[in-house]
């Protein structure tokens, strides 16, 4: 971390061992870099909340928004004179291109109707890690009709709700044989403004406060001390001063704070018990206060945090954080979150969209799924099918209109990052931010070079684990 900076500190490495600076000597103060910051997440804010509408509107408006893009892509790929047809005009055996929304028919997909049907008298399905099976089928829907797909299209890689263009012909049995397909691919990207010096944004996810990970609390405190410049010598401190912003991507609280007892137990039994989230939120407030006193922080809610469940999750309410919310450096953000930091556009989620695609597709790597959603130009294609989502009607806010420079998702099992480049010269850094409570790892993104590196805070605890294993084997 801060490799060049720590190197320069070698010369003054005695700064920790020398006597405290006398009064005539200047105390070394490192001013934190102040980046230009503008949140641009208005489209993820909900004004009125009306749940009277059905979800048909989202799919309709998604197709309305995406079909001009895909028509253009199809013409680029298969020639300007490729016949683009609606399903109702389809003639058997005719080679043509169709733009539509995918639906993946999955036998294992949990269905509330299956569960409550008394005739079958089935037990509720056990939760699985994957809901895909060999019998899954892809179906393409346009505004009026649907058709089963077969041929050159990998069923496991696609999920319900993705809008794509396919090329092929309808066969005798009423199925469409796909020869080729294309996605909307990366949206246009605004150029970055060049930055002269190294500046960092720290991405952290899955703090898991209120959980049972005791060693992660030490790591968390180390992280806070590192960022606020209370660790190490002057070299380390000057390095910490280049962290211009901290972004907390969801799951601030642990899953264990979500006790289901409160809803099932009798009221009189739970009257005097306190919800598990109360202590955890207090802890979060204290932690944030230490951070925001020194550095601007963006706080995104996640799956287990006290805000609405459906995407887009609205910012945590400031009343819950009485200590830290008085600082102007605390930015309570929505999930998904989008912001421009020093001209670098960040976009990402707390990981629900990626985890959901992982469950309903053959893909496992969070990074691959992130890239896939970027190529589909849609943040959360499985919403509203298997992912909770607000019933939008006017616009689908999850369609990417502008390509981010840093595209992240939180709560990944391990740290991963890579660069991808688009056809029009777009350059995107993909980051899967690991869950801090289990990996004790955070990510530093360099705004100048758009490189990302992990920071781990727990080398000693990993060693402890090895020792205990050794003991068992003896």
């Amino acid at each position: 971390m801060f490799s060049e900076l720590s190197h320069s500190s070698r010369q003054g490495s005695c700064s920790l061992l020398c006597r405290p600076g006398s009064e005539d000597q200047d105390p070394s103060v490192f001013d934190r870099v102040q980046p230009a910051y503008s949140p641009c997440a208005e489209r993820f804010r909900l004004g009125e909340r009306s749940f009277n509408r059905q979800y048909a509107h989202i799919y309709a408006t998604r197709l309305m928004q995406m079909s001009p893009l895909l028509t253009e892509r199809a013409q680029q790929k298969w020639g300007a004179d490729v016949p683009i047809k609606k399903l109702c005009d389809l003639q058997m055996g005719e080679q043509c291109c169709i733009v539509g929304t995918l639906f993946k028919h999955m036998d294992l997909q949990p269905s509330i109707l299956k569960e409550i049907s008394e005739e079958h008298n089935l037990l509720p399905q056990p939760p699985r890690t994957k809901y895909i099976s060999q019998s899954d089928e892809l179906i393409l829907e346009d505004e009026l009709q649907r058709i089963k797909l077969e041929g050159n299209i990998d069923v496991d890689k696609f999920v319900t709700g993705s809008v794509i263009a396919i090329y092929g012909a309808e066969k005798n049995d009423g199925k469409f044989t796909v020869e080729d397909f294309c996605t909307a691919d990366l949206p246009p990207q605004a150029p970055r403004t060049p930055i002269s010096s190294d500046r960092f944004v720290l991405l952290v996810s899955g703090l898991g406060l209120g959980g049972s990970h005791a060693d992660s609390m030490l790591a968390l405190q180390l992280l806070v001390d590192m960022v606020t410049g209370q660790l190490g010598d002057q070299g380390e401190q000057s390095g910490a001063a280049t962290i211009s912003r901290v972004l907390l991507a969801g799951n601030l609280l642990s899953q264990t704070t979500q006790d289901k007892d409160a809803s099932t137990k009798a009221k009189y039994l739970t009257k005097k018990t306190q919800a598990g989230t109360v202590d955890a939120v207090r802890l979060l407030d204290e932690l944030l206060m230490q951070l925001v006193a020194s550095v601007p922080v963006d706080v995104m809610p996640g799956q287990y945090d006290p805000t609405n469940y459906t995407l887009p999750q609205q910012p945590l309410h400031r009343c819950m954080l009485p200590l830290s919310s008085s600082y102007p450096t605390l930015q309570l953000a929505s999930n998904p979150h989008q912001a421009s930091i020093d001209g670098v556009r960040f976009l990402g989620t707390s990981g629900q969209n990626v985890l959901d695609i992982q469950r309903y597709s053959g893909m496992d790597s969070h990074l691959d799924i992130l890239e896939n959603t970027l190529r589909l130009r849609h943040l959360a294609p499985t919403a509203p099918d298997t992912l909770g989502c607000y019933p939008f009607y006017l616009k689908d806010p999850f369609i990417l209109e502008e390509c981010p420079h840093v595209y992240f998702s939180g709560n990944a099992p391990s740290y991963q990052s890579k660069h991808i480049t688009g056809a029009d010269g777009q350059d995107v850094l993909l980051v899967a931010i690991p869950e801090f409570s289990s990996t004790q790892t955070a990510c530093l993104v360099n705004l100048r070079t758009l490189e990302c590196e992990p920071i781990r805070f727990s080398s000693f605890s990993a060693g402890d684990d090895e020792e205990s294993e050794m003991n068992i084997s003896h």
């Binding site: 509408r53 048909a56 309305m64 505004e143």
Partner: protein, 110 residues
């Protein structure tokens, strides 16, 4: 014979059916002249409402339930589908009239 008669479903529902028919006849009888009077000169409102219902049923502009006609028109216009300008003209200033604001299915529960 008697057993067969008792088994017929129509026996048990006869009374109800008769009552309905009588009701209908009663209703229809006085309303006939009225309807004719209404049918002959179609009012301007009727023509407009007919046109609005046609707009509701146009699939290109997406589903119509749950949102107002104006919202649907605005959405279609936003996504470049060029909905007819007359529809917007018709809806303008009629925000208080549920016949105009909501789509033809609005009377039915979801």
């Amino acid at each position: 014979m008697t057993a067969k008669r008792a088994g017929l479903i129509t026996d048990s529902f006869k009374v109800v059916k008769k009552a309905k028919r009588e009701n209908k006849r009663k209703k229809e009888a006085p309303s006939h002249p009225k309807q004719d009077a209404e049918l002959l000169p179609l009012t301007a409102k009727d023509i407009e409402l007919q046109e609005l219902r046609q707009f509701d049923q146009n699939w290109q502009y997406g589903p119509c339930t749950g949102i107002s006609r104006l919202e649907r028109w605005e959405r279609a216009s936003l996504h470049g589908l060029n909905p007819p300008q007359e529809i917007k003209e018709m809806l303008r200033g009629r925000e208080a009239d549920p016949d105009y604001t909501y789509c033809l299915w609005s009377g039915y529960p979801l």
